[in-house]
């Protein structure tokens, strides 16, 4: 049974000797619990036959190590021309004919002969529920920001994708995971749907009054849970061993909050519970005697979409076992959504200094994951309350309280005045600033009675780390390693988590800081858009209106979650932000007139473009 195959490697890889027994118990419970339900039957269909091409195996290895394409993801997104089995036969024959040492040109020819262009399984799709003038635009006063809102609403049409019929008929010819409804993708190299990205995309869609599209995406995820038991990182078979921060419950809640469609909430309960249990079962560890979750991956080998890169970083390890462990750490970091970051580094001195090779994701208890799991339990309890199921409601309230207690006991750090990730190897908190340290504020995973104290502590923590000195937003960490989830990169979802978190905290100081940072984020994103006519995947803390870099691919444009956050904040702050109230900026100009030389308010770098 596939599910067991999926889970066993996790248990075997686990570095804490005491934990497997705990895990095994959970696993058995899980299997027993789900033994008779419908989900269980479909779990057995979790067998992507295209995985032998796209997830592992000699063909993947040979092609990816030839480095045919500047972006390793290109190959694994290409379509097969023959069935996977037939293609493997052709590949074996090809290797034999080349004495197992084909040249790069020969490999390129093999790929050309047997694979079609990437991304051909998806076609651009204009959402059928798209509206020209969603109501959030009426909340925006500044005419330039309003025009920007119009542009962002238009971008949904560029990011809409629908699977061709052939994908449903012949899924084994593709790496894409078939889903019933069209989706909004992040953009750039990310041409398929992604799990946690979709939370902010869906919120943006809801503000843009595209409820059908939003619901369709949620239903896609639910269908995936029903088929394979969990939601992979993104919509490709090669993500089969990792999920992402579990925000499906948050998506459903967002939808229900917008639509008041309680029936949808109640109908989602089975799937939400199932997904929640998946995470708990497959990710939990014990720290200081409490059950908490870590990020994990259950597959073997390098990340298929960054195959040669992983082989290269693993070159510092001598044994296959060490290499395999390293791949697991990297894929676990990918599951966290923060791939990669000094956040996951533990060197032999127990600090975060080093490079990718000291990535120890599986040994770090993350603040954000546990906060999100707490929130999942709360949402499920809430939905059970809607259904009038007091027993289930109580059960999930209890689960939520347990997680909250564990967060308070293990992750809250009185000395730092903030929550900190916990290092299981050295059994100590990791006193390094990461945006996710503030995640409990967002989902209120703390004792509400402690609000004032937490507010004072957290604001002090912000001050101490000089987080307010960066004109381009709060950097993900303060450590510049070259990895994309480190300094100076700034990411929309984490800005959202912090700024909404401070707002939720509700004290005057926290709310004031939240608003200032929210305004700054909107203005800085606008400046970047004005200069480049693009929304970026990541931004630069040191630059007002500058985009980010680093990592293993160039900065991407589009961009789903960035747009979602801005649309929500245009709705939230639009009535009070003005670009022309700056006194120094001279007469206001209209954004539409940007291509004219009269854009006095928009001097800066833009002036350079025009004059010279």
């Amino acid at each position: 049974m596939i599910k067991v195959n999926l889970i066993y490697p996790i248990i075997l890889c686990c570095c804490l000797a005491a934990v497997p027994q705990v895990r095994a118990k959970h696993l058995l419970e899980f299997i027993a619990e789900s033994a008779n339900n419908e989900i269980e039957k479909q779990v057995e269909t979790f067998d992507f036959s295209s995985c032998q091409i796209y997830c592992y195996g000699p063909l993947l290895h040979t092609v990816q190590m030839a480095k045919l394409f500047p972006d390793s993801k290109t190959f694994v997104d290409m379509k097969l021309k023959a069935s996977p089995e037939k293609t493997m036969e052709l590949f074996e024959a090809f290797m034999a004919s080349a004495n197992n040492t084909p040249s790069n040109d020969q490999i390129r020819k093999f790929v050309d002969d047997n694979f079609g262009a990437k991304g051909t399984e998806l076609e651009v799709w204009t959402p059928t529920d798209w509206v020209e003038h969603p109501a959030f635009l009426d909340l925006v006063n500044d005419p330039d920001l309003k025009q920007w809102g119009v542009d962002l609403n238009n971008i949904w049409k560029e990011l809409g994708r629908k699977m061709k019929d052939d994908v449903h008929k012949n899924p084994e010819y593709y790496s894409i995971i078939p889903v019933p409804n069209p989706v909004i993708v992040p953009g750039g190299r990310f041409i398929e749907f992604y799990y946690w990205d979709s939370y902010w995309i869906i919120r943006g869609l809801l503000y843009s009054e595209m409820r059908d599209t939003a619901r369709g995406m949620i239903e896609n995820f639910m269908s995936i849970v029903q088929r394979i038991g969990f939601i992979p990182n993104g919509g490709r078979v090669y993500y089969w061993g990792r999920s992402q921060p579990p925000l499906l419950a948050g998506m459903v809640k967002s939808y229900v909050d917008f639509t008041k469609d309680d029936r949808f909430a109640i109908n989602a309960l089975d799937v939400l519970e199932h997904e929640f249990e998946y995470f708990i079962n497959n990710h939990s560890v014990q720290a200081k005697g409490y059950n908490l979750a870590v990020y994990r991956d259950s597959s073997k080998g390098p990340r298929p979409e960054s195959y040669s890169e992983d082989i290269e970083t693993a070159a510092t390890f001598n044994t296959d076992e060490d290499k395999e462990n390293h791949y697991s750490e990297l894929k676990s970091a990918a599951e966290s959504g923060m791939d990669f970051s000094s956040r996951w580094y533990i060197n032999d001195k127990g600090t975060n200094v080093g490079n990718l090779s000291v990535t120890k994701t599986r040994s770090i208890v993350p603040v954000d994951l546990n906060s999100i799991l707490y929130w999942n339990a709360k949402i499920i309890a809430e939905f059970h309350a809607k259904a009038g199921n007091v027993e289930k409601m109580t059960e999930y309230e209890t689960k939520a309280q347990k997680i909250k207690e564990a967060i308070q006991a293990v992750l809250w750090n009185e000395e730092a005045g903030c929550w900190l990730d916990y290092d299981l190897i050295n059994e100590k908190p990791r006193d390094y600033f990461v945006t996710s340290n503030l995640a409990p504020l967002w989902v209120k995973a703390y004792n509400i009675s402690d609000t004032d104290k937490i507010s004072a502590s957290v604001l002090n923590y912000i001050e101490k780390n000089k987080l307010d000195t960066f004109p381009g937003g709060i950097p993900n960490t303060l450590y510049q390693t070259g990895e994309q989830w480190d300094f100076p990169n700034v990411w929309a979802p984490l800005q959202y988590i912090i700024i909404e978190g401070l707002d939720n905290l509700g004290t005057p100081d926290a709310k004031q800081l939240s608003k200032r940072w929210g305004h700054r984020w909107v203005k800085s994103n606008f400046a970047a858009y004005r200069d480049s006519r693009a929304m970026f995947e990541k931004y630069d803390a040191e630059k007002f209106g500058g985009h980010g870099g680093g990592g293993e691919y160039g900065v991407q444009k589009g961009f789903g979650w960035t747009n979602g956050v801005i649309i929500e904040w245009l709705a939230k702050y639009g009535h009070e932000i003005s670009l022309s109230n700056t006194g120094a900026a001279g007469p206001s100009s209209r954004f539409l007139s940007l291509l004219g030389v009269t854009a006095v308010a928009l001097i800066g770098a833009f002036a350079g473009h025009l004059i010279w």
Binding site: R108, T469, F544, Y553, G554, G583, A584, G604
Partner: protein, 704 residues
């Protein structure tokens, strides 16, 4: 916006033309400074920034640079730094920073970063332009007592020779008004321009002109001595150097395969030169942003690039820019410079442990590597030759002086010989070479520049001169140097074109001296330099110095490098200089270029650039039709401006040595210099032109 943005004020120098009829007008142009006036509301707003905030901006700048150290450690651990023997090593030797430059640059970079924090926090969100913001910042002293302020002042009070900032003829031109280069969203890539301009046909054409019998036609033709003197003068006056990591290591922006590095390994100071191959893999040539100099007043503001050379014709490329460097070149007996091979060759550094002079790697097993005051001595055999001639000249003079002044100390002999050597060099550069480059009229105007008053601040070298105008000579370099010594007589009465053998191929010799260097070999090189026609100055560079295929490069592309460096240094586009040099005639389109650039080339440029406003200064400059001299009007204007400043310096700063001593050698001109310091039998009267009916050969025996 343009209306008020720049107020063109008269430069002091023009005012100083108190003798209006001095003939100092047309070609030797004084560039006008532009001052930006701040609007009152902007000034009030910025004045309201508190001292605590200023301190914080600076602290943020320092933090920012300190944060990079983590990345730099990772780069070093991943072995991403310039490795010996690589293409990047060759490029590095052209721009090799010394310790003092590294120190200067790091401090300047911190100040720049602090200024950028202010700009991004206060100006940009308010819609205050980079130009305005920068202008305000330059009035703001670094916070008193801050570590950076202390370091900055200490630097200013230390000897500044060899680390002054380049001067600007026109205001800086950056995306943010400070330091950010324009990207490929605005400008075509440097390498793409170089590739587009490469002319396969003309590069393939055999060059046989040198072997023709002298004719009237040749009288106008420059030889390669002119080209090589341009480089020698450049080495003397200008050396932009690369920035380094804080740990002192050099920065590498490409991987071992000459492909783009993964973004995670991208150093913030990298601006690699990229061009996609047929499979869309970006081929890569290293380019690291130039080192910055600490400004003259320790204020906030935008930084200027550092010139690791003396802005003066003083043979510092041979002697070194500091006393310490100079001592390394001296034997410390009898006033002589070090040499090898019976005083015939430059001193050698076979082990060159730090790989500071030659781009050999350890396994190369090479033994030849010359040393001089400048790391660029080995940039080609032609370069080695000219350095050698001046080394020989010094030692010849020192020996002569010794015979006449037996009681002089080493120091006396050395200083006297150096003074004479420099005097001879200056005379040849200014009186002979400059005339060939600028033409008679412009050269005369340069020499008519009135001396600067004694207290006037001496002008530094201009950015436009250093990274654009003086680089014209690369356009005139050939792929190979032919061996003209095969037949003894250069003057051949028949017009037959003889098959030529090559002395060397240039691309094999760049920073890798492979020839068997002997006195005889240098003589052969000199013979060829004198009698090979220089190529025309135009935008077509030979294959030896550009990489024109979308394949993995095995040598650098000097044209792409120069384009990139011009952008790094924030030069204005070509048309701005054309306007400034042409007395503000406004350029309004491609057609206006046709007055100075052949139409065929304008058409070529139109296919490369999206707008005439984008054409890089270097590209416009080398595209211009030469009028008289060897360069077009815009480069002539920039070169003349620089040499008039140099000439002012020469007049102001008299050499301490006895005038009578210099006078004793005042008859030595180019011809005599070459005759006295080589085994040539005869050289042309004008050493910068091919021999011709009007430029006859002079027998060395007759003149020395």
């Amino acid at each position: 916006m343009k209306r008020n943005a720049y107020l063109w004020l008269l430069n002091l120098l023009i005012l100083a033309a108190s003798s209006p009829g001095s003939g100092y007008s047309a070609n030797v142009l004084a560039f006008q400074r532009s001052d930006i006036s701040l609007r009152k509301d902007v000034r009030d707003y910025l004045n309201a920034i508190s001292p605590a905030e200023w301190t914080e901006f600076l602290a943020s700048g320092v933090d920012s640079i300190n944060r990079q150290k983590r990345l730099e450690d990772t780069l070093l651990n991943s072995d991403i730094t310039v490795k010996n023997g690589t293409l990047s090593h060759t490029q590095l030797l052209d721009t090799l920073p010394n310790e003092q430059s590294k120190l200067d640059s790091e401090i300047a970079l911190k100040i720049l970063k602090g200024s950028l924090f202010m700009y991004n926090s206060k100006c940009l969100p308010r819609g205050i332009s980079g130009d305005e913001c920068r202008t305000f910042l330059a009035t703001k002293p670094l916070p008193e007592g801050s570590a950076l302020s202390v370091e900055c002042k200490r630097l200013l009070n230390s000897p500044r020779t060899g680390h002054h900032a380049f001067r600007r003829l026109l205001p800086r031109h950056y995306k943010d008004g400070f330091h950010e280069m324009f990207g490929e969203d605005k400008l075509p890539g440097a390498w793409a321009i170089s590739m587009a301009l490469y002319d396969r046909d003309s590069d393939a054409r055999p060059r046989t002109g040198a072997r023709r019998a002298p004719s009237a036609d040749d009288s106008e033709h420059s030889n390669l001595v002119l080209v090589q003197f341009a480089q020698f003068v450049e080495h003397d006056m200008s050396k932009p150097v690369s920035q380094s990591m804080s740990n002192g290591y050099s920065i590498e922006c490409c991987n071992r395969n000459q492909n783009n590095l993964q973004p995670r390994f991208h150093h913030p100071l990298c601006a690699p030169i990229l061009y996609n191959d047929k499979n869309n893999w970006p081929n890569c040539l290293n380019y690291v942003r130039s080192a910055l100099a600490v400004g003259e007043r320790c204020t906030f503001g935008a930084a200027e690039q550092l010139n690791q050379a003396t802005g003066n014709l003083d043979l510092s490329q041979l002697y070194g820019i500091t006393d310490v460097a100079e001592r390394k070149m001296r034997t410390l007996t009898n006033g002589a410079l070090k040499s090898t091979s019976n005083e015939n060759l430059l001193p050698m550094s076979p082990d060159d442990e730090d790989h500071r002079f030659c781009a050999w790697d350890i396994s190369a097993n090479a033994t030849t590597c010359f040393i001089a005051g400048d790391s660029r001595v080995n940039s080609s055999p032609l370069s080695i030759l000219i350095y050698t001639i001046f080394m020989r000249n010094h030692n010849r003079i020192a020996a002569e002086l010794l015979t006449r002044h037996k009681n002089w100390s080493d120091e006396q002999l050395f200083q006297a010989a150096k003074a004479v050597n420099i005097d001879i060099y200056r005379r040849i550069v200014v009186r002979e070479w400059l005339v060939e480059v600028l033409g008679n009229e412009a050269a005369a105007e340069v020499l008519a520049t009135p001396p600067a008053s004694a207290d006037e601040r001496l002008s530094e070298v201009s950015n436009e001169f250093a990274v654009a105008a003086i680089r014209f000579y690369f356009s005139m370099l050939p792929n190979v140097l032919h061996n003209l010594a095969a037949t003894n007589e250069v003057i051949s009465s028949n017009n037959n074109i003889l098959p030529l053998t090559n002395l060397f191929e240039l691309k094999n010799e760049i920073y890798k001296p492979q020839l068997q260097y002997t006195s005889k070999k240098l003589n052969e090189i000199l013979l060829s330099l004198l009698h090979e026609r220089a190529m025309k100055m135009d935008p077509f560079y030979v294959g030896a110095i550009v990489w024109h295929e979308p394949t993995k490069p095995t040598h650098a592309d000097v044209l792409a490098f120069d384009i990139q460096r011009g952008r790094d240094h924030g030069l204005q586009p070509y048309y701005k200089y054309l306007e400034a040099c042409g007395n503000k005639k406004t350029i309004a389109g491609w057609a206006d270029f046709e007055a100075v650039i052949p139409k065929k080339i304008v058409d070529k440029l139109r296919s490369v650039y999206r707008s005439w406003r984008d054409v890089d200064l270097l590209i416009g400059g080398i595209s211009e039709q030469t009028v008289d001299g060897t360069v077009g009007p815009t480069f002539k204007c920039i070169l003349a401006e620089q040499f008039s400043k140099i000439h002012q310096r020469h007049q102001q700063r008299k050499w301490p040595t006895d005038d009578t001593l210099l006078r004793a050698y005042s008859s030595i001109n180019g011809t005599k210099l070459l005759c006295l310091n080589s085994d040539m039998v005869s050289v042309p009267q004008n050493i910068f032109r091919l021999q011709s009916n009007s430029n006859s050969l002079v027998k060395c025996n007759d003149i020395v």
